[in-house]
């Protein structure tokens, strides 16, 4: 039994029952002794062998005592229930500060690490623990902020030299070997993209990206996103299939959903092989965007797909919207990524 609350309940309940049983047993002994020996005994001086116990025989006395014992033990059942309930309530009350601290810790994210944990009526036993936790959170917040600010500064500082380099390559385009110019330009563009993605991650982790939740049609959004990927898949001679329910209204930040969909499709296209399947379907209270990548190549081409920076962006965005869930599964011959978005039953006033 790992729960402290259950253990406390059990201890309290058992303790209560033991006390009650001992009490009943003592009561039984007392009653029997009273009936047999003391208060009810009558003796006759003329007849010393005669003993009268009120108007009862010894057997009757024993029966009365036994009945009392039986009734007491029957009563013990509700007493036991009350004892367990009382024990549970007491355990819950005593552990409420822990539950409160736990709840506050669960709500912690990079954006609110500096907010201290507070307990309205703090007992002495918890005061020290909370103080230590708050100190730890402060230290975490400091180092987190420092790390993020450093990453953001580096990325930001890289922008200017990158812009200069790009201009120089563009200007020198006709004077340098075309293949080299092409290569330089695409590498510079890639580097710029990496810098921008790093900045986006830093901003999201600093809590500077806000989720703008609205109701939108996931099917339409996905259809819009896949347009380019269908062409790119065709270019790679890969079959692209889109299966989508006609209307699938969901509630989330459409920008984030688009970005995650882009990342998943880019990943499937760049790191996978074989046919690509995109599905939008309802699954209970969620709509699922499933990107499946059938890998029909050699084992080397079906290696574990790594989203890399894209995955970091996706993870940072998903942290902003805990209602969105992403599951990825890799098996022999397939990779599947599934984004779950909460469904909205009532349609909005306008169609997008």
């Amino acid at each position: 039994m790992n729960s402290l609350r259950s253990r406390l309940t059990l201890w309290y309940g058992l303790g209560f029952v033991v006390v009650v049983v001992v009490f009943i047993y003592l009561l039984h002994l007392t009653l029997e002794s009273q009936l047999l020996e003391k208060a009810c005994n009558k003796t006759y001086p003329d007849l010393p062998d005669w003993k009268l116990h009120d108007s009862m025989t010894e057997a009757e006395v024993e029966q009365i005592a036994d009945n009392m014992l039986k009734s007491a033990f029957l009563l013990l059942i509700p007493v036991l229930v009350v004892a367990v309930a009382g024990g549970y309530w007491l355990a819950r009350q005593s552990l409420r500060p822990i539950a409160n601290v736990n709840r506050q810790l669960q709500a912690k994210n990079p954006g609110n690490l500096a907010e201290p944990i507070s307990l309205p009526e703090m007992d002495y036993e918890f005061r020290d623990l909370v103080r230590q936790l708050n100190d730890l959170l402060m230290r975490l917040d400091d180092s987190f902020a420092e790390m993020n600010s450093y990453a953001a500064k580096v990325a930001h500082e890289l922008r200017t030299p990158l812009a200069i380099l790009r201009l120089k390559v563009e200007q020198a385009g006709v004077r340098i070997v075309p293949e080299l110019a092409d290569e330089l330009e695409s590498e510079l563009h890639r580097l710029t993209h990496v810098v921008e993605q790093s900045l986006l991650i830093a901003r999201a982790e600093q809590g500077r990206v806000m989720a703008m939740r609205s109701v939108f049609n996931l099917s339409t959004t996905v259809a819009e996103v896949v347009e380019d990927f269908q062409l790119l898949a065709a270019e790679q001679n890969r079959k692209f299939t889109l299966k989508s329910v006609p209307d699938c209204w969901v509630s989330a930040d459409p920008r984030h959903v688009r970005q995650v969909a882009h990342a998943l499709l880019t990943n499937a296209l760049k790191h996978g092989s074989g046919d690509l399947t995109v599905r939008v379907k309802r699954s209970g209270k969620f709509a699922a965007l499933v990107v499946g990548n059938r890998a029909n190549g050699s084992p080397a081409s079906t290696t574990e797909p790594t989203l890399g920076l894209g995955l970091r962006v996706v993870a940072a965005l998903l942290k902003l919207e805990p209602e969105l869930r992403l599951h990825r599964r890799h098996g022999a011959g397939y990779h599947v990524a599934c984004l779950l978005v909460p469904v909205v039953e009532q349609l909005p006033m306008f169609n997008t």
Binding site: R159, R166, E170, G173, V174, I176, V177, P178, E179, L180, A181, D182, E185, S186, L188, H189, R190, T192, H193, E196, L199, R203, R208, V209, M210, A211, M212, R213, S214, V215, F216, E224, V225, E227, D228, L231, L232, E235, D253, P254, R255, R258, Q259, H262, A263, T266, L269, K270, G310, P348, F350, T352
Partner: protein, 225 residues
Amino acid sequence: MRILLAEDEPKVAEHVRAGLVAEGYAVDVAGDGDEALWLAESNTYDALLLDINMPHKDGITVVRLLRRKGIAAPVMFLTARDDIEDKVRGLDAGGDDYLTKPFSIVELLARLRALLRRQRPQAVNTVRVADLELDLLSHEARRAGEQIELTRREFALLEFLINASPKPVSKTAIVEHVWDQHFDSETNVVNVYIKMLRRKIDKEGLPPLIHTVRGVGFALREGEL
């Protein structure tokens, strides 16, 4: 054309975005002033649509900061305030137009077209290179009088090439103006679209207009390089 839309009301943002995307624009959406500033500094936009009342920084401050940094993209303010003082303040800060909420998406698109038209050397709705003609209003393309069916993205790419003509444009510049921020530029999407456009524009028997400029990018012009 790539547009930055900064609007803190999600429904309005999504509605306007959908309207712009349907017209072939690549759209990035910012939810507050800080994000708008960051995106405008990080990317190249052909126009900015900014709400005035936004969290963190209002639209007027965003424009003022952008102008100070030398970012000259045309700006249209979208706002619920309609008093003259606000309009003057917005325009003085560096805004180019002002649209009061509630507005019709048709009006917004018309004003945006006008804003973008003013950026071109000749403020016309029809642009032409050789026998290729592009109607920016009806989104129709014609070569030698024959109508060409283009997707939204193909039209946007052709519009970008035709606006730059006869100068060549790099792949990076194409990605920056025709696609939104989500797109991973590491893919060869530009090449794929250029190939599609060539199939439709430079048909057999017609002199090619889309040229690959080695080491630079692509150019739309008449005659060989």
